[in-house]
Symmetry: C2
Subunit: 210 residues, 2 copies
Amino acid sequence: MRIGELSRRTGVSVPTIKYYVREGLLPPGQLTSPNQAAYDETHVRRLRLVRALLDVGGLSVAGVREVILAIADTERPVHKVLGVAADRVVPRYPEEPGEGIVAAREAVAALIAKHGWRSHPESPAAQALAVALAALEGVGHGAFVEVLDAYAQAAERVARADLDYVARNVVREELVESVVVGTVLGDAVFGALRRLAHVDASDRLFGDNT
Amino acid sequence: MRIGELSRRTGVSVPTIKYYVREGLLPPGQLTSPNQAAYDETHVRRLRLVRALLDVGGLSVAGVREVILAIADTERPVHKVLGVAADRVVPRYPEEPGEGIVAAREAVAALIAKHGWRSHPESPAAQALAVALAALEGVGHGAFVEVLDAYAQAAERVARADLDYVARNVVREELVESVVVGTVLGDAVFGALRRLAHVDASDRLFGDNT
């Protein structure tokens, strides 16, 4: 199909499609004449993936490029790619050198050990958790760590559901793509569900007596 | 204390503190002379809250202002404020008018009904969920809805833990603030935990046979 039809099929404007090709988010079409290219279903699917990661996942263009490179990297063992992809998706927070972060990192290492997780305490996810816990402590909500176990159990439940879903895919590229999509869009899904559950729990707790 | 000490205590630069005052994120200090103001512990705490919402929560300056106004609004019943605060924190996604969003909204309404949640299907959280589900469908991962129940159960568990934590606060403003902080920073905490659990689950599933 021509670029105009690709645009109609995906709702992405022609200049934006050209921008994504320049930025390496979308492979160029097959040249059929010096200034015309043909696109196929792989471009439709990739464009939808790019828009989902940008619009719903909130990733930057550079972040989407990294994720797409991770999906395309066929050299590594699957579980390594999954780890790398997950790490790349985690936001990198500036670590304040204050005393709070040291205690928070110890709390994270203890949590990982307690749950027997095969996760490295120096991984981006562990560091992001430490920064979030230090920030909670900084605003006077250090007691939040007491509910961390409930959070960790819920996270295990979600991760198991994610992996069960992912393990259905037999083709390697689909498997890796589904992990990345699930990691990014799954966060948006869970965040929305958590707020729905909040509204319900808050209504039951405070709705009748205030 | 003077603005220089407030800056040292919080690690926020003096020009940035002045910017936050202009933007309404921080109340001005008490004027002690025409060009000097005194700040106190409430400023230290508020500055840490603002930085936590900006840096870890990823909110915009306008988003932080809205959240702070919601905390300060003492007129409304508590559960209404909690709902409003939660709704304001939810990212607003552009809703594509495609057929995908209609089916996704029906799936969300069915999920709310199934779990007996007192949540409105038109709320921002429900709409954010519908947009995320429609995006998953658009990238060929419509089957993800099959794991939605596991997600919903985990979200209920987290929401109960959040409300248990919140209900300890007896002072109204602290209660509302703790919900807002928990909603924003709790997302960062859960996202990091989910990735730690992913790495563990992925290593167990794929680590030995690839």
